[in-house]
Amino acid sequence: MTAATLAHGRDPHHVHGIEDAENRGPAPKRIVTGYGFWIFILSDMVMFSCFFAAFAVLSGKTAGGPHGSELFNLRNVAIETGCLLMSSFVCGMASIAADMRNKFWFQIAMAVTCVLGLAFLWIEFREFADLVARGAGPSRSAFLSSFFTLVGCHGLHVSAGILWLLTMMAQVFAKGFRADIQRRFLCFALFWHALDIIWVAVFSIVYLLGSGT
């Protein structure tokens, strides 16, 4: 350990002096990449907030069609929530495995994350197909248009996340834990956990509040 590390470790609130800041140079690539991706995730959340605003404004405009309380099956939503929450947790396990450079546990954790994500998507797809079959498709009312846009957009994000997940498994398999692969995985983990945060808002506002009124 270097002297700088020890000094830093002793006092976490230590403010680096000017001469220190001058000598330090640009931040490590991992921080630049992670921070840039964090900004992307926040902008993605801003986009979702627009869909949420549209849904909140239109949730009562059913045009004589069915309300949420007649359409939603909360048991399915609870299972979906469980799948996504567990996949987020297992993705955290994959992060630990990646930091330990343990290929075996990394691939196992990623495979479990993938299966849980696919289970989520399958339940959501069946729910959408069921709604359309019952004549409650996105063209039925403003409420259903905004519902399909919001929940469907989250579903598309999860689908893209699964494609990315499979790519990461293949890259780690072929190239190992190189620094650039580790950075990509850091971004993927951020993305996957962020999707779970958005799902928390979806199940609370769309399903739980929507089936109450």
């Binding site: 931040a27 921080i31 964090w38 630990i96």
Partner: protein, 128 residues
């Protein structure tokens, strides 16, 4: 990532932890999972129960959702108030500001419009 590498850095990338030992990291994820399950179960329970005062249910669900997002941010994304995390938290704060403006502003404006607009059938009658 080795201990030396991580501690050499002045900032922490979003998603990275300052903790590098497996045990405490695993415990952190488990604590997050436990809290998230607890909060999710509570909000599903509150949504379907008759035991609480009915008008309080939407407020309770929103509060539980915000709490759970906080749990996810801290335990899964590792966005904390630590000194190395300032940039990440500032970006998050700006994002939250925009989200609140978009959602709150939309609801406010649309509620105002609904309130000030005549019912549709009256408008139709005036146009005759």
């Amino acid at each position: 990532m080795s201990e030396l590498e991580l501690h050499d850095q002045v900032d922490v990338a979003p998603g990275d932890e300052e903790e590098v030992r497996i045990g405490p990291r695993l415990l952190g994820y488990l604590a997050g999972l436990g809290l998230a399950i607890l909060l999710t179960a509570t909000s599903f329970f509150v949504a379907g129960t008759d035991l609480v005062w009915q008008p309080s249910i939407p407020v309770a669900i929103v509060v539980l959702a915000i709490a759970q997002m906080g749990v996810h941010l801290v335990f899964f994304l590792h966005i904390t108030t630590g000194p190395d995390n300032t940039n990440n938290v500032m970006a998050l704060a700006f994002g939250v500001l925009i989200v609140v403006l978009v959602i709150g502003g939309s609801l406010w404006i649309m509620a105002n419009l609904n309130h000030n607009m005549m019912p549709m059938d009256q408008i139709m009658q005036m146009q005759r």
